[in-house]
Subunit: 383 residues, 2 copies
């Protein structure tokens, strides 16, 4: 089996992730931050260790500004629903995932906000100046992805964040794609809120994710409930991270995420990117030889977070993926990847795209086999 | 170590839970319901198997009416925030957890709903007739816990649900405490929404839970985002369970939960209750010999979901728990247990309660040791 669906969920995880989770759940996994007994304290400490590790990875001074959520979608909803007020104007891009588009479109539908969705260039790149041109005095937020989950293009988020900073508007960074292999340094970049999943580039398990909330930003929670803090108080507490961590957290998952981040820190974000670049380069070099293949991803690996999206003439992407799966056990993804406007942009709403997304554990040998398999599938289609 | 904090998180889990999770995460854990490749399909099938198992446990005909959430708190927020409209009247009880009280109090605070909190009797029991008396024509929901997380009292939920049914109002059952050892049969009881955690009586891992939504009930989601379905659509889809399952689900957690539910089904809910009853009886019999101990939990095990809550004279509960932990490695919980109104009711807001909560894997030997330890702590305090 060759796994090339890392943009959805990275697989496999480092062995240390499995071990940390197994150890947690079978030896000390009590309720974190609720009891004061040894296991409960150990669970709470383990969660806060992961918090520290993520803070250190993205250069956040106070790890308490990082709140754990079940996935990046919850984090994005907290950021969007929690910060926007009646009459606000928001600028986002056609390259966003439904986890950004749906909350925004829903608020727009009920006339709560005005929404501008800026277009991209032929590679899916967003021009910060186009965003700047749309800013008006009601603009309250710019929401942009770090990198497209459709074709892997890395966005000029530093420049976009500067536009937000200079205009005094919130900048929401959806770091779902790229974090772990694309450098994100919050000491060097203005970010009001950053949403991240644990199960993709951070190499943790599913069921984890989080939101960084800048100390300047006040957000309303989208849920309230037990926090283990201020139990006597009948409303949601103000302090972070409790404000956004109602109910029992996913301790074994968060512990696994901590081990994933450890692996990244030890290996180095740059080294992970270098390895992925090498795989992407080989994949691109191989696929572009075949004239039936149209590639949508950037050739310049500095602009690519680890995805090669393509189609074979006008064949439905699901047909190619099904053949890769059934004939070669190559696991990748077809369809719209929950990003409908990106496909509208690329004119692929009907057939979708075949998306190959590499991870640190893929090998050049796997890439070569994948190229051969695709060529063979195309050959068999024609002949 | 003796673990008596099962009302917070059950521990240990059946061995099969660890094995199922380990197998899932290390061999097939791709994105469920997103890709169409073998691993993705296997993950989606595994999630739906757990859905079926839970449906069969609580006797729900169509498992698609069960949606997975990160914990019971999210489920309760979906039920409360998603169903109530401006001007609605809600009846709940003083025995509820903050996961019910905080969302309701928050809606009341912003004048969106009227809230009646009914009182309990000396054992924390809620009288269905008291609830009935408070129903008026604006009443839209009755929200009640299956069993108190403070003292373990099992509520007369069948009778309360009948009041709701006869009055044509929604019945929200918080099954956080009791599910897995207290029979819950939705074929025999009117329930509009049922919220459950995975990590307590269902013996699954943290990071899991869900909501059952009756086919008659329409709920607004509290989040929107990618669902892997209707990707081209820029709003949250209507169909269950997708409507409430935005973003990547916690596949390994849900698989573990499935193994937990299997264990319960194989062992039998009645047998689990019988075993817990035996432990509770022994604990109560032992503790009531000591005149310094005041017990708040029901002596009749038919009314007790597995908790003995007590205090030692007017000693702060945290002092007793700390000694149990440090001197005897007995892990239990002190304080308010996120249920402030219950403590107001029992007049224990200041000192809280020591809560011993048993699980299926506790032994009579552990219970005897716990009784001795408590007696010894009390003896040392006096002498």
């Amino acid at each position: 089996m060759i796994y090339l669906d890392n943009a959805a969920t990275s697989f496999p995880k480092p062995e240390t992730v499995y071990k940390a989770m197994e150890n947690c759940i079978s030896t000390y996994c009590a309720n974190p931050g609720r009891g004061s007994h040894a296991m409960s304290i150990k669970s709470a400490l383990a969660i806060n260790e992961t918090r520290e590790k993520i803070a250190s990875l993205i250069k956040v001074r106070d790890s308490l500004n990082i709140c754990f959520t079940k996935n990046a979608t919850e984090a994005l909803n907290v950021a969007i629903v929690g910060s926007l007020k009646e009459g606000d104007h928001v600028i986002t891009t056609c390259m966003e995932h439904n986890s950004v588009l749906r909350p925004l479109k829903t608020m727009e539908r009920y006339n709560r906000i005005k929404l501008t969705i800026v277009n991209a260039d032929s590679l899916g790149r967003i021009d910060p100046f186009v965003i700047k041109r749309h800013i008006n005095k009601r603009t309250r937020m710019i929401a942009c992805t770090l990198s497209s989950n459709v074709n892997g293009i890395i966005m000029p988020v530093k420049e976009i964040s500067r536009v937000a900073e200079n205009s005094g508007v919130l900048f929401l960074l959806d770091a779902s794609q790229g974090l772990g292999s694309v450098e994100v340094d919050l000491e060097k970049m203005y970010v009001s809120m950053l949403a991240f999943p644990g199960h993709k580039g951070l190499m943790g398990p599913q069921g984890t994710g989080g939101i960084y909330v800048s100390p300047d930003v006040k957000l309303k929670p989208i849920m309230s409930g037990g926090t283990g803090s201020r139990s006597e108080y009948l409303y949601q507490p103000e302090q972070l991270p409790d404000r956004f961590e109602s109910g029992t957290l996913n301790t074994p998952g968060i512990v696994g995420l901590g081990a994933g981040v450890d692996f990244i820190t030890k290996t180095g974000v740059k080294e992970i990117k270098r390895k992925k670049d090498e795989l992407i380069k080989r994949l691109l070099d191989g696929l572009k030889q075949n004239k039936s293949i149209k590639i949508y991803s950037p050739e310049n690996v500095n602009e690519n977070s680890g995805i090669v999206a393509f189609n074979v003439n006008d064949t439905d992407s699901s047909e190619i993926c099904a053949q890769l799966d059934k004939r070669y056990s190559i696991e990748c993804r077809s369809g719209l990847h929950c990003a409908p406007l990106a496909h509208k942009h690329f004119n692929t709403s009907k057939i979708g795209m075949v998306r190959l997304s590499v991870g640190y554990f893929n090998t050049l040998y796997e890439i070569d086999n994948t190229i051969s398999a695709i060529n063979r599938i195309i050959y068999d289609k024609v002949n």
